[in-house]
Symmetry: C2
Subunit: 342 residues, 2 copies
């Protein structure tokens, strides 16, 4: 059974309507100007009857534009990814673009693979939330088609369009806030920073704050743990708490870390208190519900998706290879109970 819309080609429409495929093509593309009212109506009817839909593949092959972008996510499991994708989708839908999603699953090899596959595929541009270990590939890809880095950038700046948040400034401001709240010491908790730009920016700001605000040696307050090793975070927490300087606070590099910290603390019977504060990047719906409420620092992820898509589509449209642009969103500090000393 030949189903509606499936397998119907421009030829079917043409013969049924008694015109040439050219005319049908014209009709489909809105070139009504020089078309007799009668054929136009006839076409409209036939197309509806047959439920004809032009084959996007053929159209793309001919016109060399697939109306599709690719979107490579470092880890699709994160709520961050969902929001980013939603923002990207909203813009693309409106502008008639399709979005291909590829999950790198935190694996640089998969990320590289993703770019490969995207290059065969007919995507007109790519939005990348990189794992941070494939700068070379990214530069190569960006040389071939428009790329926008979302949230995370590569080491060499000014090469690729990007939409990021003000990690350094916001981190420093948050640390100043902690200082003003009366905390005398802050620990920076993170998985290995690697080349992930959000992490390096936050760590760098932390180091500066340690020196300028707290007059401490950042090395003693930096706790990089191994997420693969269950004993690693508890150990780091223990070491952090051993130093007697109080009140102290934890500065968490992202939501996943915050979550792991809270889990560990609960398991060990450690509670947030006047002596122990907590503040971190990423704000999920639950941030206000845990304990006294967790103070967070976050940029609008959905907006980041929107901006990334807008930037990319603009780039695609205006074929220009101008200098790389960087859009920076603000991280907002939401103060909650976890950083209240009394």
């Amino acid at each position: 059974m030949r189903t509606a819309g499936k397998g119907i080609t421009i030829h079917d429409v043409a013969s049924r309507a008694g015109v040439s495929i050219t005319t049908v093509s014209r009709y489909m593309n809105g070139f009504y100007e020089n078309m007799s009212e009668s054929t136009r109506q006839r076409l409209e009817q036939v197309i509806r009857e047959l439920d004809y839909r032009p084959n996007a593949l053929a159209r793309g092959l001919k016109s060399q534009n697939s109306m599709t972008i690719g979107c490579v996510m470092a880890d699709m499991a994160s709520p961050f990814s969902a929001l980013l994708v939603k923002g990207i989708n909203a813009v693309c839908r409106e502008q008639g673009y399709k979005v291909l999603i590829l999950d790198a699953d935190n694996d640089p090899r998969l990320e590289t693979e993703a770019y490969k596959s995207l290059l065969n595929n007919p995507v007109e541009g790519i939005i990348s939330n990189t794992t941070g270990r494939v700068d070379g590939e990214l530069l190569a890809v960006a040389a071939a088609i428009p790329v926008v880095l979302a949230d995370r950038v590569i080491e060499t700046p000014g090469q690729i369009d990007s939409v990021v948040s003000d990690n350094a400034e916001a981190s420093f401001a948050a640390l100043r806030y902690l200082k003003e709240q009366g905390y005398r010491r802050v620990g920076f908790f993170s998985p290995p920073v690697e080349k992930i730009s959000t992490r390096t920016a936050r760590l760098t700001a932390f180091r500066r704050a340690e020196e300028e605000l707290f007059g401490r040696d950042a090395r003693e307050d930096t706790f990089l743990y191994d997420p693969a090793d269950p004993a690693s975070l508890p150990g780091a927490l223990q070491r952090f708490l051993e130093d007697g300087t109080k009140p102290c606070a934890i500065f968490s590099v992202n939501g996943a870390v915050t979550l792991e910290l809270l889990r560990t603390m609960r398991r060990q019977g450690i509670e947030l208190s006047e002596e122990l504060g907590l503040c971190g990047f990423d704000d999920w719906a639950w941030s206000e519900l845990i304990g006294p409420g967790i103070t967070t620092l976050v940029a609008d992820t959905y907006e980041m998706g929107v901006r990334s898509a807008e930037l990319l589509l603009e780039r695609i449209r205006s074929k220009e290879r101008g200098p790389a642009r960087c859009i920076e969103l603000k991280n907002v500090l939401t103060e909650r109970g976890s950083t209240q000393i009394r």
Copy 2:
């Protein structure tokens, strides 16, 4: 500048290697059998040099299969969606398929639009997490190409392949568990149930439990609130608490509701206690961290994505239009402090 991989066609390879495009095509598709070792090596080298990648569009146009599936999500913002998509992606990547994501943003019209756009586009199949208000469209789509319903099904059963969880059984079991814990009354909290199958299944089970386990009139314990009206949920909660039967517990239809409930409770100074329990569907990372820990009921979302994709790809491959299949995953009850009476 003509960049590697971009714009290089089979012709370029052929002429450079001094063979015909046919031979190149053969090479690309692994038909080495009748190929001289020398041309094979020559081809391998040239292809590497030129970084040639076959154009997926042309390939798809010719072979009538795009190696792409579409994935329509009721609401991409939900962490559920992210996990489902990740599962789908994992399978598709492995089998060489691309995944097109469309977000319906909880809007049936957008969902319908998504199917339309997917039908022009050359997807070989669709995984749908439907908003629940477009059964007709879904049936039409499923008549044209393979469709798998993920998590939510349409009203008429047995028509479309699906991967769901045992909502009814698990709900009933959870309610029995609450009964055994000593709760004398349970309130069912949900947004309007509409035609969303997960919700109707859970509500139906609740009604049966009300009758069989609690000997109560379900109508008095069903609280459907309007998510758009901020006063609606607090009002419902108030009404629920007015009845003096204790201890009582809330049965929340999903994670979003649980979150809203917890927010409302916090705002109103209502705490989970021996008198007031809480248990609900969906388990996010924070479930164990809020208050005494929230007892939850949930199926493996990632697995659901994996199964959906496997089912769909199998369907696509074995062109058969056999009877609809339904895979059912188990919801697991994770007992935490929120349903502990003492």
